[in-house]
């Protein structure tokens, strides 16, 4: 597994000025090693999405530094940040955020379009990813012709299309039923096993327990970091071990 730091936050503040200042993030320092699986939990309004947006290079901090994939996001200009989020990070949004007028295939191929990849290469790659997320027979469906779980999987495939080293997911299973949720989380495990750094925001304990550690946020600060004890997850043995621990192993195991 790769070593080094995938994401590093140093004393990060994000303040919104609305009459009186709102500190969405209030001095967060966090190191996420490469190839690790981190879950972020916390009550609503605690700053989880704000943190994800910063790591996803969609936003810039009011104060502090954010380093993603070795690049200090705060010193990059808009164009360079865009490139970074097009190539290094894959963002899975809570609300899917698919393009309504593009088919599943075209949605998945979209990020590569902006990287200048040719049409046929793009389509092959998108088809391959859709097959991987179990949607090989839905490539030409429009988003409104897909179920919630299918849309989430399209969004996931899209996040992965440029081979990102970091995958961010903001409440990926927020509105999915248990089975679909397990499917999506199993896919996360696959990418994690393949060496991708995973950062997943969730409200639910059993989702968070698939990670190596859980970062608990409260009012824009890190309340505590919980290290889960299955440290040797990179081995297949550890995989099975974890499935046993988090309680969803039966559901996901049946799917494999």
């Amino acid at each position: 597994m790769a070593t080094g730091t995938a994401v590093s936050l140093q004393n990060v503040r994000k303040t919104y000025q609305l009459g009186e200042p709102v500190h969405a993030l209030d001095g967060v320092t966090l190191e996420i090693p490469r190839g690790t699986y981190t879950a972020i939990m916390g009550p609503s309004g605690s700053g989880k999405s704000t943190l994800m947006n910063l790591v996803g290079c969609l936003d810039t901090p009011t104060d502090g530094t954010v380093v993603v994939g070795g690049e200090d996001v705060t010193t990059l200009d808009d164009r360079e940040r865009t490139t970074l989020r097009g190539t290094t990070v894959g963002f899975v949004f809570q609300t899917f955020n698919l393009m309504p007028r593009l088919s599943a295939l075209e949605n998945v191929a979209l990020p590569q379009l902006f990287q200048g990849v040719g049409r046929s290469t793009r389509r092959d790659r998108a088809r391959e990813l859709l097959e991987r997320v179990g949607l090989g027979d839905r490539t030409d469906h429009m988003p409104n012709e897909l179920s919630g779980g299918q849309r989430q999987r399209v969004a996931l495939a899209r996040a992965l299309v440029n081979d990102p080293t970091i995958v961010l997911a903001d409440e990926p299973s927020g509105n999915l039923d248990t089975d679909t949720e397990a499917d999506v989380l199993d896919l996360f495990d696959e990418f994690y096993d393949a060496g991708t750094t995973m950062l997943v925001v969730t409200h639910e304990r059993h989702v968070a327990e698939r990670a190596e550690r859980i970062v608990h946020l409260l009012d824009g600060r890190i309340e505590r970091v919980e290290e889960l004890d299955d440290a040797g997850r990179d081995s297949d043995v550890a995989q099975g071990q974890r499935d046993g621990v988090d309680g969803t192993g039966a559901a996901s195991g049946a799917d494999r």
Partner: protein
């Protein structure tokens, strides 16, 4: 990102709002169609007319007397003032090769081998040089003083049996008299031989002024008060009080060559005489009338000037239409940018650069503009085609303008799309993703 990709996405967006897009382009369609239709007509008209001036015609000067304020083409407001004496005198002048009268004569019908074909005009009396050798398909010019005629193909072909050189043709004049002519020549075209006749093809018979015009004047004068009293409408000479002397409606002066200098010399010479006290015409000209004397090219130039003026007018209206059209596109693009804020956010979130978003919306505007331009061009050509068909002139496609129209479409698209596209590009991805 490649232009083709932009185009594909833009086309998709446009197609998802068919009616809206169609209405948006309407202003452009109308503006461009107006210009193309008019330019097609103008170019065709010009080609039809200018194409008709043969090199041999370049040395002819066409003159008539009219109130100088009269607007219009050749013979507009013309009064018959030229006597045979004047014509003879003019042909003797320096620099003048020949001069002869021109007079349209009203008819009732043409009769060939017992077959009668009603014909109210189309009999033209002139001098033999009026039939230029290069316009003769077969036969020869008529001769002055002879009962001979040259006909055009429209006359030759309008009877059951074709009229050919050597045949006899009977002409029933307006007054009821009949006269028989021998056909000595047939022209190669049914269009007019000079700007006096106009250029539209129609059946025409050309005869010498003597005997046909002079004779008719005599008979009209003789029959004054008799059954033919009302006949002198066209042969106005009969009632002017200059006696039996025939007065011609127009004069054709032939210069020594088509050289500009020779043409000008002949013009000055002829005008000098006609306006001097020596001429019969000067008596009739008085203060109100003046003689205009111009070549076919110059006469057509006037027509061209009118066309040009009309063209600027149409182009002005089209420009307004294009401005309105651009505002329409800009407006729809702004609406579209707002509607698609979330999509813009998604695209930027997955790696679309500002210039990608800019290009995408700009392409959309340009595609709208170009669609408008293409539809407008097609419509304009159609109208132009219908117009040329209706007035029966050869169709000339203004290829240059078609290219220009497409360029204008692109330009309109860019201009109207620039601000909306810039707004789209500037959209902050986080705000856009939060946009409901």
């Amino acid at each position: 990102m490649r232009p083709l990709e932009f185009g594909r996405l833009a086309w998709r967006a446009i197609r998802s709002h068919r009616l809206r897009s169609a209405l948006t382009t309407l202003g452009i369609v109308i503006g461009i169609a107006a210009v193309i239709a008019f330019v097609t007509l103008g170019a065709s008209l010009q080609a039809g007319l200018v194409g008709d001036i043969s090199p041999d015609d370049q040395r002819n000067l066409y003159g008539w007397a009219a109130d100088p304020d009269t607007e219009g083409g050749p013979l507009a407001g013309a009064q018959p003032v030229f006597s045979q004496d004047d014509l003879d005198a003019v042909s003797e002048r320096d620099g003048v090769d020949a001069a002869y009268g021109y007079m349209p004569i009203s008819t009732q019908a043409l009769v060939y081998e017992g077959e009668l074909s009603p014909q109210s005009d189309g009999l033209v009396a002139a001098g033999p040089p009026y039939i230029r050798p290069d316009t003769l398909e077969e036969g020869r010019q008529f001769e002055m003083g002879e009962r001979e005629a040259v006909i055009n193909p429209a006359v030759a072909g309008q009877f059951e049996e074709n009229v050919s050189v050597g045949d006899e043709l009977t002409i029933a004049l307006q007054g009821g008299q009949q006269t028989t002519v021998t056909v000595v020549g047939i022209t190669d075209t049914s269009e007019g031989l000079s700007p006096f006749e106009g250029f539209e093809p129609s059946p025409r018979v050309y005869v010498p002024t003597d005997p046909y015009y002079t004779e008719e004047v005599e008979s009209a004068t003789a029959g004054l008060g008799g059954e033919n009293a009302s006949e002198n409408g066209s042969s106005a000479g009969g009632g002017t009080g200059v006696g039996e002397d025939a007065l011609f409606l127009a004069i054709v002066v032939q210069a020594e060559s088509a050289d500009d200098a020779d043409v000008d010399r002949a013009r000055e010479s002829a005008l000098g005489y006609l306006e001097s006290d020596d001429s019969d015409a000067s008596e009739l000209l008085g203060d109100e009338l003046a003689v205009t004397m111009q070549t076919s090219t110059e006469l057509l130039q006037q027509l061209q000037d009118v066309l040009d003026l009309l063209q600027s007018f149409i182009v002005g209206i089209a420009a307004i239409s294009l401005v309105v059209g651009s505002i329409g596109i800009a407006n729809i693009m702004l609406v579209s940018v707002t509607e698609r804020t979330r999509e813009i956010g998604i695209m930027k979130a997955v790696g679309a650069q500002n210039r990608d978003v800019l290009g995408l919306f700009l392409t959309e505007a340009v595609v709208l503009g170009v669609i408008g331009a293409i539809l407008g061009t097609a419509l304009g050509l159609l109208v132009g085609y219908a117009g040329t068909w209706y007035i029966d002139i050869p169709l000339v496609y203004p290829y240059g303008y078609v290219a220009l129209a497409i360029a204008v479409g692109v330009l309109v698209g860019v201009l109207s799309g620039l601000y909306p596209a810039w707004r789209a590009a500037r959209t902050d991805p986080i705000d856009a993703l939060r946009y409901e």
